[in-house]
């Protein structure tokens, strides 16, 4: 069975995060995922897009982000593409909550949340194009 793909393009600004959440909620619900799983996908995609806006594009709002919800019989994948600075997953360290509070550090939890909520998280980069893939399997857990 072929994939069903739904696409959304947003400017690289946090004011559009709400639209992204609604977009993912609509199509994940249509694909018959449970309310709690849809909620998990919504948060993970929000975190991924926030990271693109704040880190890949350094809060510059004149770029764009392409989001695709790809529905297959066994899984749902959300693909987030940007052309900003690539994320170095090798250099990433799991956050330490107590240390963050001591240092008054307000960010750095996004990747941790994505990995906790999704079944698979991948970061790919090629030829200036970055891609975050968030995967939820239908029968996992």
């Amino acid at each position: 069975m072929a994939s069903i793909i739904h696409k959304l393009k947003i400017p690289s600004s946090t004011q559009f995060l709400e639209d992204v959440r609604e977009f993912v909620t609509t199509h994940a619900s249509e694909a018959s995922f449970s309310e709690s799983v849809v909620e998990q996908m919504k948060i993970a995609v929000d975190e991924a897009c926030t990271n693109v806006i704040e880190h890949a594009y350094n809060n510059e709002s004149n770029h764009s982000i392409d989001i695709a919800v790809i529905v297959n019989p066994d899984r749902l994948t959300v693909r987030i593409r940007d052309r900003g600075r690539k994320f170095d997953s090798q250099a990433y360290r799991e956050p330490d909550l107590m240390a963050f509070a001591k240092n008054r550090k307000a960010g750095g939890f996004g990747v941790h949340i994505m990995r906790r909520l999704m079944d698979e998280v991948q970061f790919n980069s090629k030829g200036g194009l970055n891609e975050t893939l968030l995967v939820k399997f239908r029968n996992a857990r």
Binding site: I4, I5, H6, K7, L8, K9, I10, P11, S13, T14, Q15, F16, L17, E18, D19, R21, E22, F23, T26, H27, E30, S36, E39, K42, I43, D46, E47, T50, I53, E54, P95, L97, M98, F100, A101, K102, R104, K105, A106, G107, F109, G110, H112, I113, R116, L117
Partner: protein, 141 residues
């Protein structure tokens, strides 16, 4: 309810939408006081776009010398790590001044996000606002 997204209702194939409409921020903070305790009523969705409003509210408490703060989350329907980061950024400072930020009455799906990052180990999270108020009273009597 927000307007129906242009992609809604397209069950198959590829749908490429125009940029979504700019939406107004769906988040607000209300202020109340009971004795020395300042209560912040959060309403709506707290993400990277709206986190600055929570930050401004906590800064206002600080400029008013109010360090006993309760955040009432009864009407908070969504939080991402950007929202959690605001609590992280201010908790040490408030505690150094002899106060605390207690978090009360969270909806289960919002509590789950706090829990995912281990917040119950760092923050006083109570089921009800009354319970948070009485903990402040117990600490100061």
């Amino acid at each position: 309810m927000r307007p129906v997204h242009p992609n809604d209702g397209l069950p198959v194939g590829t749908a490429q939408s125009l940029y979504p409409n700019i939406s107004m921020s769906d988040f607000s903070v209300g202020f109340r006081s009971t004795g020395e305790v300042r209560i912040l009523d959060l309403k709506g969705e707290l993400d990277a776009h709206t986190a600055s409003e929570l930050e401004a509210a906590i800064q206002k408490c600080q400029s008013d010398q109010a360090v006993q703060i309760i955040v009432n989350g009864a009407n908070l329907v969504y939080i991402s790590s950007a929202g959690l980061g605001v609590f992280m950024a201010y908790i040490e400072e408030v505690r150094e001044k002899g106060g605390d930020i207690k978090i009360a009455a969270l909806q289960p799906k919002v509590f789950n996000v706090f829990d995912l990052l281990g917040f119950p180990m760092l923050f006083d999270i109570t089921d009800s606002e009354d319970e948070a108020v009485s903990r402040f009273s117990a600490a100061t009597s």
